[in-house]
Amino acid sequence: MATLTTQPEPPTPAVDNTHDDPRSRATLVLGGLNLTTLTDRVTGIAMSRPQLWWLAAISISLSLLGYLGLMIGYLVVTGPGVWGNNQPVAWGFPIVNFVFWVGIGHAGTLISAILFLFRQNWRTSINRFAEAMTIFAVMCAGLFPGIHVGRPWLAFWLFPYPNQMAMWPQFRSPLLWDVFAVGTYATVSALFWYTGMVPDLATLRDRSKNMIGKVGYGIASLGWNGSSRHWHRFEKAYLLLAALATPLVLSVHSVVSFDFAVSQLPGWTTTIFPPYFVAGAIYGGFAMVITLAVPCRKIFGLEDIITWRHIENCAKVMLGTGMIVCYAYSIEFFTAWYSGHHYEQFTFFNRPMGNYMAGFWAMTICNCVIPQILWFRRVRKSWVGVMIAAMAVNIGMWFERFVIVMTSLSRDFLPSSWAQFSPTWVDISMLVGSFGLFFTFFLLFLKFLPTIAMAEVKTVMPQGHPHTGPGGTMRPDEMSTDYRPDEQPEHGGTH
């Protein structure tokens, strides 16, 4: 550690902040941004007129969303027969899409809650973004079980409410746990997102020039005025929410995996499912974070705030969770063999060699092979390499759920009840349309809401904390990325 200087002159910031040695790494926020220019940069997106690409993108997304609406209308007036679902494959695409989207929805809360508890300061630039992604992905996820119940207008039967039939839902069923888990997750994620956004909405309110902005952001920011007493309670509430969301995020995908694991079906009834699903959800979620962050930081000129270090960190998390997922894939095969259970062994023989072998190999190549390119530093540093890996995981994780749902359902115990599932055009249209739902909301968020958690980024900037060097001067390590304001050495000493 460098010795203390009394001069308030910061060490020359290196441009590269992806360096492995924290001592020679630049700060998290690059480009010499200070508090003012950071606010300008972030609020500039919401204050300026929409760009052409944004209008084009929202038109496409809205068209897809409209198409999804048409498909749902068609489904409701015709019946679930428009899907390829049959007996025994009653779950079909809706449940594949549900698990896919709810998995994507996990990275947001992981970044905001778990990385917050671990004091990973780099999360501040991407957490808002990832939380928004979470909420919109959970909206897409919630849609599919809702329309899969057969009579969607009676979907409220899922909830325990006093009714004229004097019936209650079956509380020992994992499908009902799912209602509570996903419902709680959607609610808590939305609250977490909104609470964190209130101070930034106040910034937009104070920056707005027109009446609509002033009134709109004024109502949304609840009269936030940045009082230190308010911040004190805000920080406590945020910490408590993070502590509550952490077990929640792990429980939600565990409960989703119980939908499968609690059944008796070969290929589903394994105890590895909860951790395996959680790792898979984080894997797919981080892939989606990268997919969205790499273009957005470029288009909106946020490269100094969402730096390449953020992308590289996400890539490393992806690589790590990807290894857990691949380990789970292989241990499933081992368990099937070691169990000596004929049906289990057949299921796992059927996966790579049977009726859905294309899905299995797509999953394996996309999830286990292609992302291994991220081991190489040169690949992690190029946007093409990172995007290839992330897109592979996006595709691979959809196929993972496809393989899990289809192989076990279509080939269960009795060959006489076997059947093949093939998706209809409505199935495919709904999957594509759900991306329209997701991107419509995401684009609206990018344009009209604070994309970066400005207040949080400011706390990790050198300007954001009182100098603790002798006589109120800046200590050299305040400019470093790993500066911990809470762990201060004695004045005049070194550590």
Partner: protein, 209 residues
């Protein structure tokens, strides 16, 4: 910069305002270290009814102003226990096989348990109820944390005298605004302004109701 007295509404009023009472005074700072020192100096000088408005939470400001720890964690604990109790009662009541009827809403049958018998499993299988109990605990705790925080902060806030000041708009951007209320028994327009100036305030403004 000299001390500026601002009458915020004067620019669009043709008739002179009625004289308005003094709410307090604000002082603008552009450095986080200075504002923490200023807050500590204010407290040392005996002031109590003052606050620092900042675009982000400042480390060490709680001690400098003398902010007492919030009771929010206890609210969250109470809400969490309530959620747990509701979850436990809901699952045990609805799944039990005992004769118990709670009067329902008017015109509806009484609420009675609906014991499903599935694979001969016990009716009151608590392990199977844990996911629901857990999710309800988290849900109500989160409600407690968010709504408790906003209510303790007296938000939503429709109006505040400070919102009339252009200077105050930068409290959500890049400036730190130290605000003293005139209710403080040490408050004196001149002396307070002089003290704040000495601590490095860029400017001070009087805030009217």
């Amino acid at each position: 910069m000299t001390q500026a007295t601002v009458y915020p509404d004067s620019h669009h009023d043709t008739e002179p305002d009625e004289p308005r009472a003094l709410w307090g005074m604000l002082a603008e700072f552009d450095d986080v270290t200075e504002v923490v020192h200023a807050a500590r100096a204010m407290r040392d000088a005996g002031y109590r009814r003052f606050d620092v408005h900042s675009p982000f939470p400042i480390h060490g400001i709680d001690g400098a102003i003398g902010i007492r720890p919030t009771i929010l964690p206890w609210i969250v604990l109470a809400m969490g226990l309530t959620g747990m109790t509701i979850g436990f009662a809901l699952t045990m009541f609805t799944m039990g096989d005992f004769a118990l009827a709670i009067p329902g809403p008017p015109g509806a049958p009484p609420l009675e348990p609906y014991p499903y018998l599935i694979s001969g499993k016990p009716h009151l299988s608590i392990p199977a109820f844990i996911p629901v109990i857990f999710e309800l605990t988290i849900l109500l705790s989160a409600f407690g944390a968010v709504f408790g925080m906003f209510l303790l902060n007296k938000l939503p806030l429709l109006y505040h005298p400070l919102f009339q000041h252009e200077t105050f708009k930068r409290a959500t951007d890049d400036r730190f605004i130290l605000v003293v209320e005139s209710r403080d028994r040490h408050f004196d327009p001149e002396k307070t302004a002089a003290l704040l100036k000495k601590q490095g305030a860029l400017c001070t403004e009087e805030v009217l109701y």
